[in-house]
């Protein structure tokens, strides 16, 4: 079996005295699409940032593509994994195209300018998220949903095997939620890639993800296939609220009771 894209052993994360996860083991392989589910403030973003090497864990071992994260340079990490952040600052204006092209950074040497090939990659990504028409607009003039799509385009442009997405469908309308997650799934399926995304919508997780990590908020986590994790019992523990499952056209839907 090939080297896992992300291999986590005994991960402890503590923020402000509260445990986010304790002795978490997680193995993400190529072709897998993972959802992280948990209540607000449970530490989904912190976990994603830790996996991206943006903050240190209390203890534990994270390997990306076989190498320990702590031993890789930022540039090397950025070639192996890409993060779509939940929030993006824009103190200074940049166009949609510039913002997307920024994703090529880890692939360029310090003195190099983006080549026409890099620009073509950025244009393709903008077309995939349906933003070609807004290419030269400033990101500050976009709606929240349009900004999310710019961030997704930048993530695709970074072209890393492991994609970490922090609430990728925030601010998106129903149609675009499905469209963008479809796009992520298509990038992962049958490719040497994997995605880990935090989501708020159990139904989107059940529709697009084959694996799920549940965070219970006590430092306790559970992970496994979507079929094993997405049950009334498990989800009721995650959300501290009972859920009902309905089956329509062979697909399971979860509704708060």
């Amino acid at each position: 079996m090939s080297t896992p894209l992300c291999d986590v052993r005994g991960l402890h994360i503590v923020v402000g005295g509260t445990a986010i996860c304790q002795s978490l083991d997680l193995t993400v392989r190529a072709g897998e699409c993972w959802a992280i589910l948990g209540m607000n403030g449970v530490g989904k973003t912190t976990l994603l940032h830790t996996l991206a090497g943006l903050r240190a864990a209390e203890s534990g071992d994270i390997r990306v593509g076989g190498s320990r994260l702590a031993e890789l340079s930022r540039r090397e990490i950025a070639k192996r994994l890409a993060l779509m952040p939940q929030l993006v600052e824009d103190a200074f204006p940049a166009t949609v195209f510039e913002e997307t092209l920024a994703g090529r950074n880890p692939h360029l040497s310090p003195w190099a300018w983006e080549s026409t090939e890099d620009e073509a990659i950025a244009r393709t990504a903008l077309a995939e998220v349906g933003l070609t028409a807004l290419e030269s607009r400033l990101t500050t003039t976009l709606s929240g949903g349009e900004r999310r799509r710019v961030q997704l385009a930048a993530l695709l442009v970074q072209d890393a095997p492991l994609m970490l997405l922090d609430e990728p469908v925030n601010h998106l309308d129903l149609h675009r939620q499905v469209m963008l997650l479809e796009l992520v799934k298509q990038k992962v399926a049958g490719n040497p890639r994997a995605a880990i995304m935090s989501l708020h919508d159990v139904n989107l997780a059940s529709r697009f993800c084959d694996h799920v990590l549940l965070m219970f908020g006590t430092g306790e986590c559970a992970s496994g296939t979507a079929a094993d994790m997405l049950t009334e019992n498990m989800l009721s523990r995650v959300y501290c609220h009972s859920l009902r499952v309905f089956e329509v056209d062979g697909r399971r839907y979860f509704v708060a009771a």
Partner: protein, 318 residues
């Protein structure tokens, strides 16, 4: 293509500003005889007085604009510049102390340099916490220290003997009369520009946030330290050469952003050119507007800078 056009314009403006700096002064003299050497005395004025001064103004303007552009990316705040962060306040306090005890020009310059760098280190040390360096805390620390330095300056001015007061006030307002050689400022501008061009793409990313920059492969802590030190060194050399000159560092990068230069790979060299141009012209105005009397150049930059800045701010919020 548009960038090439803007750069051609900036280079032409820089050359023109140096010509103006040569041609204008507290004594009116015909330009061509002086340049060709037909008029020996005028030739002397041109090359041993006006040329070094115009070049010093250009170097200082370039340094200030560079420092402003760098600080703005570092703090992700379009209102940041080395003066807002207390660099000039620290320099002014120590320079005035040196003047108070009657040190010669070299001593005052050394004190200004030490004050600028010392203030920088102080801001950094105070704003640094266990985990990281929040830009907002850095900015606040700088602003508070700057107002502290302002009080110290007022204290020194109120204690200073009458005879030294005029020199002190001119130093505080920015003045090229005391700058003997333009080379430190020009050399520093070129060196610092070269050092930062290497990081220019990383600066583009840093301006989008530290998290974003780090996730795109930038070693943020290393870059942050480098930029802060380099920008402070730029400000220190500028303050040492010309005293306290405001607004060039703040306004120049914004003027360029408004003309479409957002990429730091273009913004940094353009800042050097246009900051130098602005200050050279301001100094020419300061020397000639009520000639033979000279005005402090800091007054001219503030008189141009304040309305321009308020205009830009209004435009941004509109």
């Amino acid at each position: 293509m548009r960038a090439a056009y803007v750069f051609a314009l900036l280079i032409a403006a820089a050359g023109l500003s140096l010509l103006v700096g040569l041609g204008v002064g507290s004594t009116a003299q015909p330009f061509w005889p002086a340049l060709s050497g037909a008029d020996a005395a005028a030739h002397e004025v041109l090359f041993s007085l006006r040329l070094p001064r115009a070049l010093a103004a250009f170097g200082v303007g370039a340094l200030l604009a560079l420092a402003g552009a760098l600080m703005q990316a570092l703090l992700r705040n379009p209102l940041a510049d080395p003066y807002v962060l207390g660099v000039s306040g620290g320099a002014a306090t120590l320079a005035l102390c040196a003047m108070l005890v009657g040190l010669p020009v070299a001593g005052v310059q050394a004190a200004a340099f030490a004050g600028a760098l010392g203030s920088t280190l102080l801001v950094f040390a105070l704003a640094h916490s266990r985990h990281d360096l929040a830009p907002s805390r850095l900015l606040l620390t700088g602003v508070v220290l700057a107002s502290g330095w302002g009080a110290a300056v007022s204290l020194i001015l109120s204690l200073a003997p009458e005879a030294r007061l005029r020199g002190m006030v001119f130093w505080l307002l920015g003045d090229f009369a005391g700058s003997e050689t333009p080379w430190p400022a020009l050399a520093a501008a070129v060196l610092i520009l070269a050092a930062c061009l290497f990081e220019a793409r990383a600066l583009n990313l840093l301006a989008r946030g530290e998290l974003r920059a780090a996730s795109l492969g930038v070693d943020v802590p290393r870059l942050r330290w480098k930029i802060y030190l380099v920008a402070s060194a730029a400000a220190a050399v500028a303050v040492t050469t010309a005293g306290s000159v405001g607004f060039v560092g703040l306004v120049t990068p914004h003027l360029l952003r408004l003309s479409g230069l957002r990429d730091y790979r273009l913004l940094l060299p353009a800042s050097v050119l246009s900051g130098g141009t602005l200050l050279t012209v301001a100094d020419a105005v300061a020397r000639s507007v009520i000639a033979p009397q000279q005005l402090p150049v800091g007054v001219i930059t503030a008189l141009i800078g304040v309305p321009l800045f308020l205009f830009l701010l209004r435009r941004e919020s509109a």
